[in-house]
Amino acid sequence: MSDPDAFRAELRAWLEANCPPEMQQPVRDEDDVCWGGRNFKFKNPAQKAWLEVCVAKGYTVPDWPVAYGGAGMTPAEAKIWREEMQRIGARPPLSSFGIWMLGPALLKFGTEEQKVHYLGQVARGEIRWCQGYSEPGSGSDLVSLQTFGEDKGDHWVVNGQKIWTSYADKADWIFCLVRTDKANKYQGISFLLFDMASPGVSTKPILLISGNSPFCETFFDNVSVPKDQIVGELNRGWDVAKYLLGHEREMISGAGGGDRMNTIGAILSRNAGVEDPLLRAELAMFDVDALAYGAMGEKFLDEVKVGKGHPAGSNMMKYAGTELNKRRHELVMAAGGTASLEWDSAASNGGGRARGWLRTKANSIEGGTSEVMLNVIAKRILDLPGA
C-alpha cells in the first residue's frame, strides 16, 4: 500500500458517492441481507444498486485477486476497507457461503479454471451456494459420512442424504462431501460441486424453534456429477473440508466485526430502563467481555493476515464468540421483560427479539459444537494427550 491515509480518503470518498443511504441502515431482518443467486429478489432498488457498484470495483470480495472478481487489496488495505464500511454502518453488499466458505477453499485448492469460473460467479453474486456436510448419522463425527459417489468413468453417480443444509431450497449449487472410497475413512471422501437443479436432487425444509425454516433435509437420488467438478484430489476431500471449516468457524465467530462486539448495557438501559442492580451488573460484566472479545477479533485477524497466530485459532474464536452471543441474547430477553415474549405483533417486529434469541442457540451447534471446539483446542493447541 502506497499511502494508507490517501487510500482511506479515496475509499471514504467513493463510499460517500456510491453507498446509498438505505444501505447504511442496520440490518433488521433476513430479507435486508443480499444473498445473490439466480432466484434472488432484491428488496429495493438501493440493495441492487449497492451490489452492482461494488461488483464493478471488486468490493464484494475486496481481498480476492482482481482476476477472480476481487479488488486485490492487501491485508492492511482490507482492514481500512472494513473500518471505513463500519464507520458509516454500511451493509455488506453481498453475503454468501460462496464468499465465506467455498471461496477460501477454492483459492487454496482449486484449479486456475475453477477459480476464474466459480470465484467470478461468487464475486458477482450470480450463484448462491449451500454446504452439504452433515448427515443424519454424521454430525460432530462428520468423517463417518455415508453419502456415496459411484465412479462411472467420466462422472460420479451420487446417492444419499444430507441434513441441516442451510438454504438448500434457495441455493443454486452445493459443495458437498461425498464418500468415494468405502474402505478408507479419512482418505475416502471427495469434495464435489454440483448444481442443485440437477435431476435427482430434492430438498425438504425443516421448521426450527424460531419458527423459521432456514435449513433442509437434502436428498440425492442418482445425481450425476461430471468429473471436473471435484475440488482437490480424489479421496482427499477431507483436507479441503477441514480447511473450509476453519473459515466457516471464523465467519460464525464474528471476528470480522458486525454486532458481535457491540456493547448492550447502554442501549438496553435507555430503552428498557434497567432498574434491577443485579441485571445492570450482568450487563456491565457482559460489556467487559464483549469489548475484550472485540479486541481479540481484531488481533486474530491481524495475525491471520501475516501468518502469525495458531492455525487452529478459529476454533477458539468460534467457541468464545458464539458463547458470548448466546449470553447477549439472554440479557436482551431479560432486559426486555414481557415485551420480549411477543411472537408476531407488529410492535415486536414479528417477534424479532424472541426469534433472534432462539436462533442464537444454534450458534454453538452449527459449524461444529462448542464441545467439539474445546476438543480441538485441547488437541491441536494445547497438545493434551489422547485428545
Binding site: V288, A295, P385
Partner: protein, 379 residues
C-alpha cells in the same frame, strides 16, 4: 496499528523473558526473600539489574535520560514479571511514580528521576485510604502552611511503602472528600517528619504499609504538577498502574496455565494421563480461550493509551477487569487440577494463586472496573 508486537517489541520481549526466567525466577527471588523474612519483600540487587537492562527507564522520556517508550513496552516487562512472580518495585516506581513525575517541574524530575533510572531509589504511591480501591474519594488534607503545605490523613495498601525513598501522595487541597477537583499530588520524602509507616506482610509475601500523615510539613517544591489540578495527573498515573497490573495479571495467568498443562501431561491416574480426561481438557481449553482474550484486550488498551486515544480509559478498565477474571480462573483451575500437591507450599502453583489475589485488588478489581465500564458507557 496491528495488535501484535513489532520487531523491536519482540526483541524486548525476548530479552525480558530470558532475564526474568533466569534472574527473576521464583526460587531465586520470591521464595528466597520470603523465606529470609526480608523487610522489603524484594531484592535491591535485582532492582539494580533492572536498571542495567534499561527497564527502569522505559516510561521515562528520553530528555530525562530514559528510553521514552510506552505502555506496550512496560507491559512486556510486566508480563514476564507476572510469569515468574518476580518481586520488584517496577510497577509502583517505574510505571506509576514515573508517570506522575513526568508531570513535575525540572527541579523535581532532576531530584527523583536519576535514582529511579540507576536503580538506587524506590518510590511508592499512596492513593487509596480504605481496603477497596476508591480513588474518587480522597480525604487526606493538605493545608497551606508557611511557604508550603501540611499534610494529614491516612493511606492504606501502600505497596513497598516502607522500602521507598519517596511516596507520591494524593491529597486534597480544596473541596469535599468526593470532589473531582481540588486534588494535589506531593512527592513526600520517606524521612519527612510526621510520616509514619506500619509495614505488614501480604498474602503474596509483598510488603505493604499503612501510612499515617500527621502534619507532615512540605515545601512548595514537593508539589507534582499544579496545586488543585492533580486529578488529571492522578488519572494518568492510575491508568498506567491499571494497565500495568493487567499485563502482570496476564503473565501470572499464563504462568499458572503453563504449569497446569504441563502437569496434565505428566500425572497418571486410572492408568491414564489426567490430561486425557475430557472434563479437564474442556476446562483447560476454556481457560486458554479466556487468557487469549485477556491478552488481546491488554495490548489493545496499551496501544490506545500510548496513542492518546479518548477510548483508552474505557479499554483500560475492560482490560483490568478481563485480565483479573482470566488470571483468577487460571490460578483456581491450576490448584484444582493439581490435586493435593497444588495445596502444598513446596509446589509453585499456590504462589500464583496468592499473587493473583493481591494483583486483583491492586488499582481496582473486576467489579470496580466493570462498574466503571458501565458508567463510562453511560448507564
Amino acid at each position: 496499528m496491528p495488535l501484535y508486537h513489532n520487531d523491536d517489541q519482540a526483541m524486548l520481549a525476548d530479552s525480558a523473558r530470558g532475564f526474568m526466567a533466569d534472574e527473576g525466577a521464583i526460587a531465586r527471588q520470591l521464595r528466597h526473600f520470603r523465606d529470609i523474612q526480608c523487610k522489603d519483600g524484594f531484592g535491591h540487587a535485582l532492582w539494580g539489574q533492572f536498571a542495567e537492562m534499561g527497564f527502569t527507564g522505559i516510561l521515562v522520556p528520553e530528555a530525562d535520560g530514559g528510553l521514552g517508550m510506552g505502555h506496550v513496552e512496560a507491559g512486556i516487562v510486566l508480563e514476564e514479571i507476572g510469569r515468574n512472580l518476580t518481586p520488584s518495585p517496577f510497577l509502583t516506581s517505574s510505571v506509576m511514580a514515573a508517570t506522575a513525575l513526568s508531570a513535575g517541574g525540572d527541579e523535581l524530575r532532576g531530584r527523583y528521576l536519576p535514582g529511579l533510572l540507576d536503580g538506587s531509589s524506590v518510590y511508592a504511591v499512596a492513593i487509596d485510604e480504605g481496603p477497596k480501591h476508591r480513588p474518587e474519594r480522597i480525604k487526606t488534607r493538605a493545608e497551606r502552611a508557611g511557604n508550603g503545605f501540611k499534610l494529614s490523613g491516612t493511606k492504606a495498601f501502600v505497596v513497598q511503602g516502607a522500602s521507598a525513598d519517596m511516596l507520591v501522595v494524593a491529597a486534597r487541597t480544596a473541596g469535599n472528600d468526593e470532589d473531582d477537583a481540588g486534588i494535589t499530588l506531593f512527592a513526600v520524602p520517606r524521612d519527612a517528619s510526621g510520616l509514619s509507616l506500619d509495614s505488614v506482610r501480604l498474602v503474596d509475601s509483598a510488603m505493604a504499609a499503612h501510612v499515617k500523615l500527621d502534619n507532615v510539613q512540605l515545601d512548595a517544591d514537593a508539589v507534582i504538577g499544579e496545586v488543585d489540578g492533580g486529578r488529571e495527573v492522578l488519572n494518568r498515573m492510575l491508568s498506567a498502574g491499571r494497565i500495568g497490573a493487567a499485563a502482570e495479571s496476564v503473565g501470572v495467568g499464563m504462568g499458572a496455565f503453563d504449569m497446569t498443562t504441563t502437569y496434565l501431561k505428566q500425572r497418571k491416574q486410572f492408568g491414564k494421563l489426567i490430561g486425557e480426561f475430557q472434563s479437564l481438557q474442556h476446562r483447560a481449553a476454556h481457560l486458554y480461550s479466556e487468557l487469549e482474550i485477556a491478552r488481546a484486550v491488554v495490548i489493545k488498551a496499551q496501544q490506545l493509551l500510548d496513542g492518546g486515544s479518548d477510548k483508552a480509559d474505557l479499554m483500560v478498565s475492560v482490560a483490568k477487569a478481563k485480565a483479573g477474571q482470566a488470571a483468577g480462573l487460571a490460578v483456581k483451575e491450576g490448584v484444582q487440577m493439581h490435586g493435593g500437591i497444588g495445596m502444598t507450599d513446596e509446589y509453585d502453583i499456590g504462589l500464583y494463586m496468592k499473587r493473583d489475589r493481591a494483583l486483583a485488588e491492586f488499582m481496582g478489581d473486576q467489579y470496580y472496573h466493570a462498574q466503571r465500564v458501565a458508567v463510562l458507557s453511560g448507564y
